[in-house]
């Protein structure tokens, strides 16, 4: 309602006696005094920037703090084999804006001309095949919403609160709509040979990154992806072609894909023996631990934020599972003693970020808030102590899907409370 109450009242009362009964109770006829009279904003008294003839739109200059960032726990001494993290605390829907999707590269970001790019399929197939990008884009396409999470997400925060913000504890996580075609179509076209059970995917980047994937998973739901959130892949996301393996650790969704080879056993590359394996208590290493298990985190309020005053605060967060759909998320505001079901916001999609919301009335006293997700297999997100009963957790260990608490101080400061 306008602040010119005299004008507002006169014109309003003159209209009709029929609605006067309700109108008189409304704010338009008076209401409480505001703190300051509202001036006309200068943007309303002049034209804005002219529309450029051609442009790729970018966020408001007032949102320049919403960017990918590196970990705040340690500093890599080079930035080719490095990573950057998604600002989940600023993500309002389930789709991560494309320029904010996390990065993990092993030898930097290549700039590949799609007119020169080729994909080859060979090995245990009846006929090796080569495809240009235009060949691949002639096939019918399919689009799927799925999360992508690095196996190393949250690895600095098992037994001590090392990271500050949810970007740095959980930002090796993003979600997008991926467009391409099933890998199974091309394997069927080449014709699988006898004994085919594993598939090698290799990138055209400077690390020539390679992983071995079981054929069953590839035939089930792996995609050859060339687009993401409606546009061609960004260079840092594998332009012009990557494989996408839903629900599995991001490292297997090989970017800049140039080669698929079919075999009768895994290759046991460095990236699946010396790396991307999990230490176990008896000196052993768990290998081919591809699946990203059910996990959730509160993104608002989260580490580094401050609650300005007691009262209503909507607790928001994400839940996801590599095994299927999220069926429930519970929220505790008392350190895990009591839990209440949060509201899951539609759409709730298989192997995709799911938004949960919970209305919390903060009483101004110290609190510990956390979320716990359940997936369609009945798996309940564990605590870190639950996980430590089964695995050797010392140092930077991957596949951390533990419940993640944030503490809220009496002055409203929110901090990492994992330990």
């Amino acid at each position: 309602m306008g602040n010119d109450t005299k004008h507002s009242r006169r014109s309003f009362l003159g209209k009709s006696a029929v609605i006067a009964g309700t109108a008189l109770a409304g704010a338009g006829v008076g209401g409480r005094a505001g703190a300051e009279p509202l001036p006309i904003p200068p943007t309303a008294q002049q034209p804005g920037r002219p529309i450029p003839a051609t442009a790729y739109g970018t966020p408001s200059k007032f949102e320049s703090h919403v960017v990918r960032r590196r970990t705040d726990v340690f500093v890599n001494r080079q930035n080719w084999s490095d990573w950057s993290m998604t600002p989940l605390q600023h993500q309002h829907g389930i789709v991560t804006p494309t320029g904010l999707i996390f990065e993990r590269h092993h030898a930097g970001i290549p700039d590949i001309d799609p007119a020169m790019h080729k994909l080859v399929i060979h090995g245990l197939v009846k006929q090796p095949l080569v495809f240009s990008m235009s060949d691949l884009m002639r096939y019918p396409s399919v689009s799927k919403f799925h999360f992508l999470e690095c196996s190393g997400n949250t690895l600095a925060d098992w037994t001590k609160a090392a990271s500050t913000t949810v970007q740095q504890t959980h930002g090796l996580l993003s979600c997008a709509q991926w467009t391409g075609l099933p890998v199974s179509w091309l394997l069927d076209e080449a014709g699988l040979g006898p004994g085919a059970t594993w598939v090698l995917f290799e990138g055209a980047d400077g690390s020539n990154h390679t992983r071995s994937i079981p054929l069953d998973k590839v035939m089930d739901d792996a995609l050859l992806v060339y687009a993401q959130n409606g546009e061609m892949l960004r260079p840092e996301q594998g332009y012009p072609l990557r494989v996408f393996i839903p629900g599995w650790e991001g490292n297997v969704s090989v970017k800049w894909l140039r080669r698929i080879k079919v075999g009768d056993q895994p290759w046991h590359f460095r990236s699946e023996t010396a790396r991307y394996t999990d230490p176990m208590p008896d000196g052993k290493w768990r290998q081919f631990s591809f699946l990203m298990e059910c996990k959730s985190v509160i993104t608002r309020p989260s580490g580094g934020m401050k609650l300005e005053r007691p009262g209503l605060h909507e607790i928001q967060g994400f839940a996801w599972s590599g095994r299927g759909r999220i069926t429930a998320v519970d929220v505790s505001v008392d350190g895990g003693k009591n839990w209440q079901p949060a509201t899951l916001e539609e759409p709730v999609i298989d192997k995709c970020l799911t938004r949960f919301r919970h209305r919390w009335s903060w009483d101004g006293r110290p609190a510990v808030i956390q979320s716990r997700a359940v997936d369609s297999t009945g798996y309940v997100q564990p605590t870190v102590p639950d996980i430590m009963k089964a695995r050797a957790i010392a140092g930077f260990v991957q596949h951390h899907n533990g419940i993640f608490p944030w503490s809220v101080s009496a002055s409203g400061e929110v901090r990492n409370a994992i330990a």
Binding site: A107, H122, V130, H268, R270
Partner: protein
């Protein structure tokens, strides 16, 4: 709405639902045509760089000694990995750590971690040196593998690595891996007075 109209509306709704465009959460069927072009294994040989590391299938001809490997290392590797592979300006040690995995101070090196020695050849060829990957000759890669294995005490100073000898090197972590047996937790959904 009268009951007859209600019945009609429900019937129409059901028919509309039944006739709606097909939707599927599963992936669609493959089209009857394909657009791949045949290629021979010979024509893609330059791309066929993988080594199946347990038995060394894919290792190329060539050979290298520990002494040759030291020279290659000092020319192409030492800047990042440091003298004698003990750690340098960019990366930590590539020597030692054998026997450390039953402690909480695990040291991960090619010597302690790789279950199969041909991993050294595969990885060094495809990814090293970081500023010029896939440029070393097979002889250079075999030589660097010999040198790193020797620094880890796994081959003698006079060792020669080639497609026959490299897969035979016994790595201490050969039996160090177990398959994924998750889920390995069984949390319950307690709601009241938990813990």
């Amino acid at each position: 709405m009268r009951s007859r109209e209600l019945v009609l509306a429900v019937a129409v709704a059901l028919i509309v639902a039944a006739c709606a465009a097909p939707t599927a959460s599963r992936l669609p069927e493959r089209p009857r045509v394909g657009f791949g072009q045949p290629i021979s294994e010979a024509d893609l040989a330059a791309w066929n760089i993988d080594v199946r590391t347990p038995d060394g299938l894919g290792l190329p001809p060539g050979r290298g000694t520990v002494a040759q490997g030291k020279a290659v290392y000092e020319a192409k590797c030492v800047a990042c990995h440091g003298p004698e592979a003990k750690g340098g300006s960019m990366y930590g040690t590539m020597v030692g750590g054998i026997g450390s995995f039953k402690t909480n101070a695990r040291v991960l090196t090619p010597g302690s971690m790789y279950p199969y020695a041909p991993i050294l050849f595969d990885y060094v060829r495809r990814a090293m040196p970081m500023d010029r990957p896939l440029t070393m000759t097979a002889d250079e890669v075999y030589a660097v593998a010999a040198y790193i294995l020797h620094l880890n005490g796994l081959v003698p100073a006079d060792a020669v690595m080639d497609q026959s000898s490299l897969p035979k090197v016994q790595m201490p972590n050969r039996d160090g891996f177990i398959p994924d047996d998750r889920p390995d937790t069984s949390a319950v959904r307690c709601m009241r007075d938990c813990k």
